[in-house]
């Protein structure tokens, strides 16, 4: 087994590349927004793109640890934090689109519509649960929390489930896209199951 040894410079270039790749959906919709090219239903387009990528990055970040284990490579796990933070980034944009564009920041609108739209409440629960994870994703918090850090960050699986239910709930009829995400999540949970069980015993 060859051990990967990157120089600092190589690491920087690699991380920058991945970073730009993760930023691409944001750059692409920003470009469209500034050029009035979001299409017939601009708010909906922004909702879907930001929501999709929040979920996708969450699932991608969750595959890093299994990948590292299966291929016995430390490389994927070193991108886990960045990917997780990108999920938080897109989820934040998703929430902002709702608050600013969909609700026009009107408390009246929100108070009227939230009780009638339970999937939005669920989405917000998932988003708020992401905050502690984002805030403790730095090395200082990791050291301070010690073993508690792992327990805290295991909530990411709950968040993924809540986020997915949010997606299923708002879908009118064709659930093929949320089903694909659900299948990925089930696979990831199956992979993680032995670890959970060990902890419980």
């Amino acid at each position: 087994m060859t051990v990967f040894r990157f120089s600092k410079r190589q690491w920087f270039v690699l991380k920058l590349l991945v970073f730009m790749l993760c930023l691409w959906p944001f750059l692409s919709i920003s470009w469209d927004a500034f050029n009035d090219a979001l299409g017939a239903d601009p708010i909906q387009r922004l909702h879907f793109v930001t929501g999709d990528w929040a979920l996708r990055f969450l699932l991608i970040s969750l595959t890093m640890s299994p990948l590292s284990q299966v291929f016995k490579l430390p490389l994927p796990i070193r991108f886990r934090r960045m990917l997780g933070l990108f999920s938080f980034f897109y989820a934040s944009l998703h929430a902002l689109v709702w608050l600013v564009l969909d609700q026009s920041l009107s408390l009246d609108n929100m108070l009227n519509e939230l009780p009638e739209s339970p999937y939005i409440i669920l989405g917000f629960i998932a988003y708020l649960m992401l905050w502690p994870l984002a805030l403790t994703s730095n090395i200082i918090a990791m050291r301070a929390l010690g073993s508690k850090w792992h327990s805290l960050h295991r909530s990411v699986y709950v968040i993924a489930v809540v986020g997915l239910v949010h997606f299923f709930w708002l879908t009118k009829l064709d659930i093929s896209e949320p089903l694909i995400y659900a299948a990925v999540l089930v696979l990831l949970l199956m992979f993680r199951w032995p670890l959970f069980k060990k902890k419980l015993v």
Binding site: A33, D102, E113, E116, S117, Y119, L170
Partner: protein, 322 residues
């Protein structure tokens, strides 16, 4: 035949498509300048909509019509943002995939409690109808809306010609069922064929329109060619597309969305901001083609057509009969 009718209409009364396409931008730029520059055709259609209708019954919403003209959704979006699951569930699917639909020749079967049943050639039906333009707001159950200049004929006038019997309490409409032409029907997103229905008095309301065109031209396939229903006070899914069968019945028809999810989609499906969909609010709507920072529009009871249709539901609990 269809083309001829539409052309005749276009020559006299309907704004040419080039003017339509520009109207939105021009009006927002400077309404006065626009009106000064536009042709007498546009003035006639835009400022004196009374010239469009011979019937006095429709005069009550002439002013509303002229207001809506300034809100027309661009042709590009009317014809590329469609819910027509027979061609796929994505909004962009119908514009791409509906080209396989063969709309000529087209036959409509008239059945049930009616004096003149039979299979009619669409061209023969159209010979007996007078086409007119009607600008309606279309409110989708998904909380978006657009404003479309339909061309069509009165459903009430058509029904009268068919001489329904006293037993006819409902009208049931059916879309073409042909997976060869409609690839979405190979999958099971809904139960095919698509069926919709109206109570007889709803069908006889002067607002109910059988559309054969929009923006002064023949209906594009993705918009439900060659013949579709438009009932503007109801959610869009009631306005069934590509109709091949009209059946008059004594009992309430079993309709597609109601069958798919009866808790979520009722038979009536009247636009009502006070009655939310079980999963989302119906209070406001996104305006198709609007800019990103345009606030959403407040949804109106009966989609703004309360004066014309509210009496149909007098005494009915609209929360129960949603």
């Amino acid at each position: 035949m269809l083309i001829k009718k539409l052309q005749r209409f276009t020559e006299n009364e309907v704004t040419p498509k080039e003017l339509y396409d520009n109207s939105r931008a021009l009006i927002s730029a400077s309404r006065r300048q626009f009106l000064a520059q536009s042709s007498t055709v546009m003035l006639a259609a835009g400022l004196a909509p009374a010239t469009l209708w011979a019937s006095d019954e429709l005069s009550s919403f002439h002013s509303n019509q002229s207001v809506l003209r300034s809100e027309l959704t661009p042709y590009k979006y009317v014809t590329t943002y469609n819910n027509f699951y027979e061609f796929g569930t994505a909004k962009s699917d119908p514009a791409v995939k509906a080209q396989t639909l063969k709309t000529k020749p087209w036959h409509v079967s008239i059945e049930g409690e009616v004096g003149k049943p039979g299979v009619y050639d669409l061209e023969d039906i159209l010979k007996r109808q007078s086409l007119e333009e009607r600008i309606y707001r279309l409110r989708c159950v998904e909380a978006w809306s657009m404003v479309v200049p339909w061309v069509g004929f009165s459903l009430a006038a058509f029904i009268k010609q068919l001489e329904p019997t006293s037993k006819a309490k409902f009208v049931e409409f059916t879309t073409l069922h042909d997976p060869e032409q409609m690839p979405g029907q190979r999958g099971g997103s809904l139960k095919w064929p698509y069926v919709e229905g109206l109570r007889m008095d709803e069908a006889m309301n002067p607002l109910s329109l059988m559309a054969t065109g929009l923006y002064g031209e023949q209906l594009p396939n993705q918009n439900g060619a060659p013949l579709r229903l438009v009932v503007p006070w109801k959610y869009g899914f009631k306005s069934i597309k590509s109709i091949v069968k009209i059946r008059f019945t004594e009992t309430m028809p079993v309709t597609s969305w109601n069958q798919a999810a009866s808790r979520e989609y009722g038979f009536y499906a009247n636009v009502n901001p006070q009655v939310s969909h079980p999963r989302w609010s119906q209070r406001r709507e996104r305006v198709i083609g609007a800019s990103l920072f345009n606030p959403k529009r407040n949804t109106e009871i009966f989609n703004g057509y309360a004066d014309e249709v509210a009496h149909l539901y007098k005494g009915m609990n609209l929360k129960e009969f949603f």
